[in-house]
C-alpha cells in the first residue's frame, strides 16, 4: 500500500531542503573564496526554487485530493534535555502552503529578473547569497510548527533584508538605512524571543499545537487563559509591528527602497512586509481569546493604514510611493485580522470568522503579487507614462482628490510638510528614545575616561588620538 505519510515527509523535506541547499552552495563557495560564475548561480537558483515550488504544489494537490488539512512533519528533537525541548517541526496547512507557494513563485520570478538586472554587477554573487538566505528564512518562517523554528526563519529574513538594503555599500545612505532596518528588526526579534520564552514557560514546549490548539488553521482554539493570551499576543503584535512596518516602526520601509529594485520588489513590497500579518494570522486563536488584544490589533492596523495613505500621497519617487501603498494595504490586512477575531469573540459565529480569515489570506496573496508587478515595472515608469500619454494623445490628468479639496488652503502646506516628513515618526523615535539613550551612555563613557585617567595618572586613552581616515567627498554628503 502506498505510504502517504512518507510521501508527505519526502515532499515537505524537499520544500525546506531546496532553499537550504541553495544557501549552502552559494554561501560556502563565497566563504572559501571561490565565488561561482553568474551562469552557475543562476542555474542553482532556478533549480532550487523550481524544485521547492514543484514539491509545494504536489503537496497542495495531495492535500486537496485527500481532504487533508493539516500535515505536520516532525524532525524530532533538535535539542533535548530535561525541562527543555527544542523541536523542529514544519506544518503544512491552509495558511502555510499558499504562503510557501507565493514565496517560491515570487522569488523565482525575482531570481530570473535579477539575473538580467544585476548582470555584471560587482556584487552579483553577494546579492544572490543574501537572496538565498532570504528565501530560506521565508520558507522556514512560513512552515514553522514551533515558535523556535519560526524565530530562526524570522531572524534570517531580518539579516538578509538589512544586508540587501545596504547592498550598494560604497554609498553611505544605503548603509545607514540598512542599519536602521536592522535596528527595527532587532526590536521585533527581541519581542518574538520573549514571546517564545513565555510560551515555553506556559506550556513547557514551544509547539504551536500546544498553545494554539490542535485544530487545523483557521479552526484552532487556544488553550490559554485570557491573561496569558493577552501577554503573549501583545508580544507577538510588537514583533509583527517591527516586521510589517506598522506605526511607529514604519520609517524603515521607505528607507529599505535604497536596495536593488528586485529585492525591494520581492522582499519589502511583497513578502517580508506581510510576515507580521502572517504571524498574527498564525496566532489568531490567541487573538480570539482577548478582546482588548483584538482592539489593539485593529487600532494598530487602522492607524498604519491612515498614516501610510496620508504620507504616500506626497512621495516624489515611485519606489517610496509604492512602499507607502504597501504599508496602507498591510495596515488594512492587520485591521482585518483583529476585526475577524473580534467578530468571533463577540458573536461566536465561527463559520463567518473562518471565511473572513480566508479572505484576509487572499488579500495578502493578491496584494503580494500586484505589488511585485508594480515594483518590477518601476524602473520603466517614465516609459510607461510616455506610452500612455501617446495613446491618449495628451498629458495624464493631474487632479486633486476629494480629501485634498476639502482641506483649507492655509493648512495645505502644513499637511504637505507633515506627510513629506512621514509624520515625524522617525524624528520622534530618535529624539525621545535613541538620543537620550546614547547621550546617557556617552556620559558614562566620559566618566569612565576620567576614572582611568585618574588611576593611570595620565591620558589613558590612546584611541582618542586616532585620526579618522579622510573621507571622500561623497561620504560627507
Amino acid at each position: 500500500m502506498f505510504d502517504h505519510e512518507l510521501l508527505f515527509k519526502a515532499l515537505g523535506l524537499t520544500v525546506v531542503c531546496a532553499p537550504l541547499c541553495m544557501v549552502l552552495i552559494l554561501g560556502l563557495s563565497s566563504l572559501v573564496g571561490r565565488p561561482l560564475r553568474e551562469r552557475t548561480i543562476s542555474r542553482t537558483v532556478q533549480t532550487a526554487v523550481s524544485g521547492g515550488l514543484l514539491a509545494a504544489l504536489i503537496i497542495l494537490a495531495l492535500m486537496l485530493s485527500q481532504g487533508t488539512r493539516h500535515v505536520a512533519i516532525q524532525l524530532g528533537s533538535w535539542v533535548h534535555i530535561p525541562h527543555y525541548h527544542f523541536q523542529i517541526a514544519f506544518v503544512f496547512d491552509r495558511l502555510s502552503v499558499p504562503f510557501v507557494i507565493l514565496t517560491f513563485l515570487l522569488c523565482g520570478t525575482i531570481g530570473a529578473f535579477a539575473n538580467k538586472y544585476m548582470h555584471r554587477e560587482q556584487g552579483f554573487n553577494r546579492f544572490f547569497v543574501f537572496y538565498s538566505l532570504f528565501v530560506l528564512g521565508m520558507i522556514v518562517t512560513s512552515l514553522a510548527g514551533t515558535i523556535e523554528t519560526l524565530f530562526a526563519g524570522w531572524e534570517l529574513v531580518g539579516l538578509s533584508s538589512a544586508l540587501l538594503v545596504a547592498y550598494y555599500h560604497e554609498r553611505p545612505a544605503p548603509v545607514r538605512n540598512g542599519l536602521r532596518v536592522w535596528c527595527v528588526y532587532r526590536v521585533s526579534d527581541a519581542a518574538l524571543l520573549v514571546a517564545s520564552v513565555v510560551m515555553h514557560h506556559l506550556t513547557g514546549e514551544g509547539q504551536f499545537d500546544q498553545f494554539l490548539g490542535a485544530g487545523a488553521w483557521p479552526e484552532g482554539v487556544a488553550s490559554a487563559t485570557e491573561h496569558q493570551a493577552f501577554v503573549v499576543g501583545l508580544l507577538l503584535l510588537v514583533a509583527a509591528m517591527g516586521k510589517s512596518a506598522l506605526v511607529p516602526f514604519s520609517g524603515w520601509l521607505p528607507r529599505a527602497m535604497e536596495g536593488p529594485t528586485p529585492s525591494s520588489a520581492v522582499f519589502y513590497g511583497a513578502l517580508s512586509v506581510h510576515l507580521g500579518a502572517f504571524l498574527l494570522l498564525r496566532a489568531s486563536p490567541i487573538l480570539d481569546l482577548s478582546p482588548w488584544l483584538c482592539a489593539a490589533v485593529v487600532l494598530e492596523g487602522l492607524l498604519t493604514a491612515v498614516f501610510a495613505s496620508f504620507a504616500g500621497r506626497v512621495q516624489t519617487d515611485i519606489k517610496s510611493a509604492l512602499s507607502f501603498a504597501s504599508m496602507t494595504q498591510v495596515g488594512i490586512i492587520v485591521a482585518e485580522i483583529g476585526l475577524t477575531s473580534l467578530v468571533i469573540h463577540w458573536t461566536g459565529w465561527l463559520t463567518l470568522g473562518y471565511v473572513l480569515r480566508y479572505l484576509t489570506l487572499i488579500h495578502i496573496l493578491g496584494h503580494g503579487c500586484l505589488r511585485t508587478m508594480q515594483f518590477l515595472r518601476a524602473p520603466t515608469l517614465l516609459l510607461d507614462y510616455r506610452t500612455l500619454e501617446n495613446a491618449i494623445g495628451s498629458s495624464l490628468p493631474q487632479s486633486e482628490g476629494a480629501l485634498e479639496r476639502r482641506i483649507p488652503a492655509r493648512l495645505h502646506v502644513w499637511f504637505y510638510r507633515l506627510a513629506l516628513e512621514r509624520g515625524y515618526l522617525d524624528v520622534c523615535l530618535d529624539n525621545f528614545f535613541v538620543r537620550p539613550f546614547l547621550k546617557t551612555l556617552q556620559g558614562c563613557d566620559a566618566l569612565e575616561r576620567r576614572w582611568t585617567d585618574f588611576l593611570s595618572g595620565s591620558q589613558s586613552r590612546e584611541s582618542e588620538q586616532l585620526k579618522p581616515t579622510p573621507e571622500p567627498l561623497e561620504n560627507l554628503l
Binding site: 535539542v79 533535548h80 586616532l466
Partner: protein
C-alpha cells in the same frame, strides 16, 4: 577516579612550557613564529586527545595516566571533569589560531615565548580544581600581560591596581573560607572578597575599566588571549559557586545582568574597534556570570553553553579585527572604512562570528542563548528579559561595526590586502566549528547540561542543602547522549 589512557593533560601543559624556553632563545621572529605555531599545534593535538579520551572512558572526572604529578608533588594537581574537558582543547585552539594568524607586520611586537607561557598557565588553570592551585594559576596568569605592558612602555597602573586587588581578595577570601572549615554556610568575610575578586577578573561594572585599559595598551593578540577564555567564570565555578548562598549569587547575578546591558550599550557608542570589541566581550562575560549565578539547571546549562560559544565566536571575531588592524593600523569607527572589496572573506567571517556571539540561529550560540534567556526569566521574572535586551543591543553593535569597517568608498591601498593563507585557514576553521556546532547542537548541550548537573550536585553536597526538586526528579543524562 577514572584514569585517562595517556598523560594527555600534563603533556599538553608541558609542551608550551618547554616550547617557550626554546622559542625564547630564538633571535629571528619569523622562525620563532613558525616554531610557536608547531608547538601550539602539538599542544592542541594533546588537548583534543584528552577530550576524546575523556569522552571515551565516560567518567564524570578523570586524572592523568601514570600520575606523574602525584609522584612529583604528592597530590594530583590536574584533574578534568565535564566542565573543563571541552574548555582545554578550545583554549589550545585559540592559542594555535592566534599564532597561525599573526602576520609578519605584528611578529616583532607580539612575544611568542610569553604567549606560550600564558598558554601553559591557562591550560593548567582549566585542568586544576584545587582552590589554592586555581588561585596561584590565576595570579600567575596576570604576569605576562603586565610584562608586555612594561616592555612596550605603556601605562600599567590601572592594570596593576585591579590585578593586585583581584589577587589580594582571592587570597583573603579563600583564607577565610578555609579557616571556617567545612561549615554549611560561610560568612560574608569569606564570600564577599571572593565574589569581588571574581567580579574584577570578569570585568563586571564598576570593576571593568582595567579591561578596556588592557585592550588600549597591550597588543591585540595578548589582550584577546587573556580575556576570551573567561577565566573569571572558571574562578567563579571553582571558588564561589560551591560555597556561596543563593541570595548572594542572585544579587551578584543582577549586577552582572546590568553589566551585560550596560556593556552592550557602550559597545554601540565606541569610536575605536578595540574598545568596541572589549565592551562586546564584557557584555558576554557578564551574561555567562548571570547564568552561573542563577544556580538552576537550565540557567547553568545556558551559561556553560554561552561560555563555549562566546569563547569561540568572540575569538574568531577578535582575530578578524586583528587581521584588519595588521593591515591598516588602529581602526576608527567614526567613519566608513570600505574594506570589503579587499577582504570579502574577512567581512563574511566578521558577520558570522559576530552574529554567532549574539546567538544567531544556525550558529553555535543560538541554543545556549535561548537557554540563558529561559533561565534568566525563570530566576528573575521581572528583569530577566534584560538578557534579550543585551543580545539585541549586541546584535545592533556588531552589524553597525561591520558597516563601519567594511562598507563605504573602497579603501585605497598601494599593496594587496588580500587574506593570507594562515588567516584563511584560521577563519575557515572557526567558521566551520561555529556552523557545525550550530546545526548539531545536541552533543554540546547534553554535555553542558551534564556538567551543570554535576556542579549543582557538588554545590549541594558541599553546602549540605536539600537537592532542589527540579534536579531531583530529572532522569540522569546518559554520558553518550
Amino acid at each position: 577516579m577514572r584514569e585517562l589512557h595517556f598523560p594527555w593533560i600534563e603533556v599538553a601543559i608541558l609542551i608550551p612550557l618547554i616550547g617557550a624556553i626554546l622559542v625564547g632563545r630564538l633571535r629571528d621572529p619569523d622562525v620563532a613564529r613558525k616554531w610557536s605555531v608547531a608547538i601550539s599545534g602539538l599542544a592542541l593535538f594533546c588537548a583534543v586527545g584528552e577530550w576524546l579520551d575523556f569522552d571515551f572512558i565516560g567518567a564524570s572526572e578523570a586524572e592523568d595516566h601514570w600520575h606523574l604529578m602525584t609522584r612529583l608533588c604528592g597530590r594530583e594537581l590536574f584533574v578534568i571533569d565535564e566542565l573543563s574537558a571541552p574548555l582545554i582543547p578550545l583554549v589550545s585552539l585559540l592559542y594555535f589560531l592566534t599564532m597561525t594568524a599573526t602576520l609578519r607586520t605584528k611578529i616583532r611586537r607580539f612575544s611568542f615565548a610569553w604567549t606560550l607561557i600564558s598558554e601553559t598557565l591557562v591550560l593548567a588553570l582549566f585542568s586544576c580544581q584545587i582552590p589554592w592551585g586555581v588561585i596561584g594559576l590565576l595570579a600567575a596568569g596576570t604576569i605576562p600581560p603586565y610584562l608586555e605592558l612594561r616592555a612596550r612602555g605603556k601605562p600599567t597602573r590601572v592594570y596593576l591596581f585591579h590585578m593586585a586587588l583581584f589577587i589580594g581578595l582571592m587570597i583573603l577570601g579563600w583564607a577565610f573560607a578555609e579557616n571556617e572549615g567545612n561549615q554549611q554556610v560561610h560568612t560574608l568575610w569569606a564570600i564577599v572578597p571572593l565574589l569581588t575578586a571574581v567580579l574584577i577578573r570578569s570585568g563586571i561594572a564598576p570593576f571593568h575599566c582595567w579591561m578596556t585599559d588592557l585592550f588600549e595598551h597591550a597588543t591585540f593578540g595578548t589582550a584577546l588571549l587573556f580575556a576570551t577564555p573567561i577565566a573569571g567564570a572558571y574562578a567563579a565555578v571553582r571558588l564561589v559557586l560551591p560555597i556561596a548562598p543563593d541570595w548572594v549569587l542572585q544579587s551578584i547575578g543582577l549586577l552582572s545582568l546590568l553589566t551585560a546591558v550596560y556593556a552592550a550599550g557602550m559597545a554601540l557608542i565606541q569610536r575605536e574597534a578595540r574598545r568596541f570589541f572589549c565592551y562586546l566581550f564584557l557584555s558576554h562575560s557578564a551574561l555567562v556570570l548571570v547564568g552561573l549565578e542563577m544556580v538552576t539547571p537550565i540557567g547553568l546549562t545556558g551559561a556553560l553553553c554561552v561560555w563555549l560559544s562566546s569563547c569561540l565566536a568572540l575569538s574568531g571575531f577578535g582575530l578578524t579585527l586583528r587581521a584588519l588592524e595588521s593591515r591598516c593600523g588602529r581602526l576608527s569607527l567614526t567613519n566608513f572604512q570600505g574594506h570589503y572589496e579587499h577582504t570579502p572573506n574577512l567581512a563574511m567571517c566578521f558577520v558570522l562570528t559576530g552574529l554567532a556571539s549574539v546567538g544567531f540561529p544556525g550558529t553555535f550560540g543560538f541554543v545556549g542563548t535561548e537557554l540563558l534567556v529561559d533561565g534568566a526569566v525563570e530566576a528573575y521574572p521581572h528583569v530577566g528579559v534584560a538578557v534579550v535586551l543585551a543580545a539585541a543591543l549586541n546584535g545592533i553593535a556588531v552589524v553597525q561595526t561591520y558597516f563601519r569597517l567594511f562598507t563605504g568608498t573602497r579603501y585605497v591601498s598601494s599593496v594587496s590586502l588580500q587574506i593570507r593563507e594562515g588567516e584563511r585557514y584560521s577563519v575557515l576553521g572557526l567558521a566551520a566549528l561555529i556552523l557545525i556546532g550550530g546545526l548539531c547542537p545536541q552533543p554540546n548541550i547534553a554535555s553542558r547540561h551534564h556538567a551543570a548537573h554535576e556542579l549543582l550536585n557538588k554545590r549541594q553536597s558541599l553546602s549540605g542543602d536539600v537537592r532542589p526538586a527540579e534536579v531531583e526528579h530529572e532522569s540522569p543524562v546518559p554520558m553518550t547522549e
